[in-house]
Symmetry: C2
């Protein structure tokens, strides 16, 4: 059994390859919910949906988020009404949020609802929200207020300086059913190439997770989301610097070293391998750019072989 | 100044004609919110929307509800997910509910949000929810549980026997801003041909409204929603019988006689005029079937002339 710690796009791509090399029923992905937001009264869970849509081969390949063949009727009408449209929600995607919100209001837990959606999409992987409780990533801007993740990421296009990050609700959140068991029982724990600061850190902030990860350090292998000093997508490079870390594979190694045993870095960073190992973390060099499913599958195989 | 008590389709049609014979800015419609429901987390206000869409000439003329040229992308996707689809929500219509829900969650009152939507649709009429507070029409089924209005009306297609009706929240609801003033100051108060039992009764159940209506009895003129013993649309005939009233213009007169001075009945019921007057209510006979805007306008003129 494989357990993955997952954010959004990068995690989705790695998992899409992983299901080519491991039966999906043997994979549990513990997914970040710190990006979740309530908008128009709807519970939107971007990381869960990105992973789900990608595994269903329904993701929009051009954007990496949202659904292929999407239409925008609701948003077009909402714009005419003067509503909030900076967070773009396609019509088919809205159906997911409608379903989730209705079930949550009926009293179902987020994990239960996620399992229903995964089944509706015909997937066999187990997707588990890290917690069924409230968890919200909040960013304190250098020149502004504290904002929610989506306001930072989408409305402000992560083009603002961040002074600090916190995970609202984390200290009171219980790990979702099966989360600690999936970490305890996994042959390999894979840390997807997600943003360490705002995608993986909220998972680790849920009580009990870090303790379990520390027990499994030798079985934990991560993939660096930083290649040649930059994030392929999103603000991981910038946020690492703002948190006082290098925007490099060495910075990623230092961020994770207390509980991660092995880090896979891209060939572009091969010469940094000794510096990564100087952080006390085993280093493997491999191609990590997942431009095709085949490359994702090859990277997944490398990751799984790393601690096999 | 004219004030109308309004439910959904019948009220919308009368008001659509009224704005042809009176400047819309001189009309206040106090609208039922007992039909409102929360579904998918969205606040849906069917009567407010039917009146608004009809006045904007945007209503679907075939159904009398929803928008013309509507698409159903969200519902189609929701059906694939196994979500609740018995309450059909078009994509453009959903934008209204998204807007309303977001504004309510921001702390705006329903009346304020309604005014914003009315302005966005370019309307000059004043639409006022009878209350900004919770008001929910609940029906006790003879062979079943108590259900909400939409479950009765849409899911069960009002094809079930009703033992009783109540208006949840009414006793604690405050009249919306301007409601009592609009009743006190109107030259004419028009009771639209809406369902007496489930569209007009919830308005009257809000504290203060009945007292104000009784003071204005001579200025109140209603249009019978029952023609030749039957409702043109919906369960008004059936519900009147179930509440112990005749399904006839005489039953309607008896239902309203304590606070309504004049009732307009259809030519098809002309011979019942003496029986209506025997209920202590003035009776006017006129064509009341609003198959065109012109006929609605003519009926509106008749109604306004009745107490001028």
């Amino acid at each position: 059994m494989i357990t993955a710690l997952a954010g959004g796009v990068g995690a989705a791509r790695l998992l899409r390859g992983m299901v080519e090399v491991v039966p999906p029923s043997e994979i549990t992905a513990i997914v970040n919910t710190g990006d979740d937001t309530i908008l128009h009264g709807l519970h939107i869970a971007p990381d869960l949906d990105t992973v789900m849509y990608t595994l269903a081969d329904a993701i929009n390949p051009d954007t990496g988020w949202g659904l292929a063949g999407e239409t925008w009727r609701v948003m077009e009408s909402l714009q005419r009404l003067g509503g909030i449209t900076w967070f773009n929600l396609g019509d088919q995607d809205l159906a997911t949020h409608c379903y989730r919100t209705q079930r949550l209001q009926e009293g179902a837990a987020l994990g239960q609802v996620t399992a229903e959606l995964v089944r509706a999409w015909g997937l066999e992987i187990r997707l588990v929200p890290v917690t069924d409780d409230l968890l919200r990533t909040r960013l304190q801007l250098v020149d502004g207020p504290e904002v929610g993740f989506q306001e930072y990421f989408v409305r402000l296009r992560h083009d603002v300086a961040v002074a600090g990050v916190r995970f609202e609700g984390a200290e009171r959140a219980a790990p979702g059913p099966g989360v600690l068991e999936a970490l305890a029982g996994a042959e390999t724990i894979v840390v997807c190439p997600s943003n360490p600061v705002v995608s993986i850190a909220p998972l680790v902030a849920v009580p009990g997770v870090l303790e379990q990860l520390r027990l499994r350090r030798d079985r934990i292998v991560g993939v660096s989301p930083i290649i040649a000093g930059a994030a392929l997508k999103g603000p991981a490079d910038r946020l690492l610097r703002e948190m006082g870390f290098q925007s490099s594979v060495v910075g990623v190694a230092r961020w994770y070293a207390s509980w991660m045993g092995t880090l896979v870095i891209d060939e572009a960073d091969a010469e940094s391998a000794p510096a990564v190992e100087a952080e006390g973390i085993r280093c493997i060099v491999a191609p990590t750019i997942m431009s095709t499913v085949e490359r994702s599958a090859a990277l997944s195989q490398t990751v799984l072989d790393a601690v096999a």
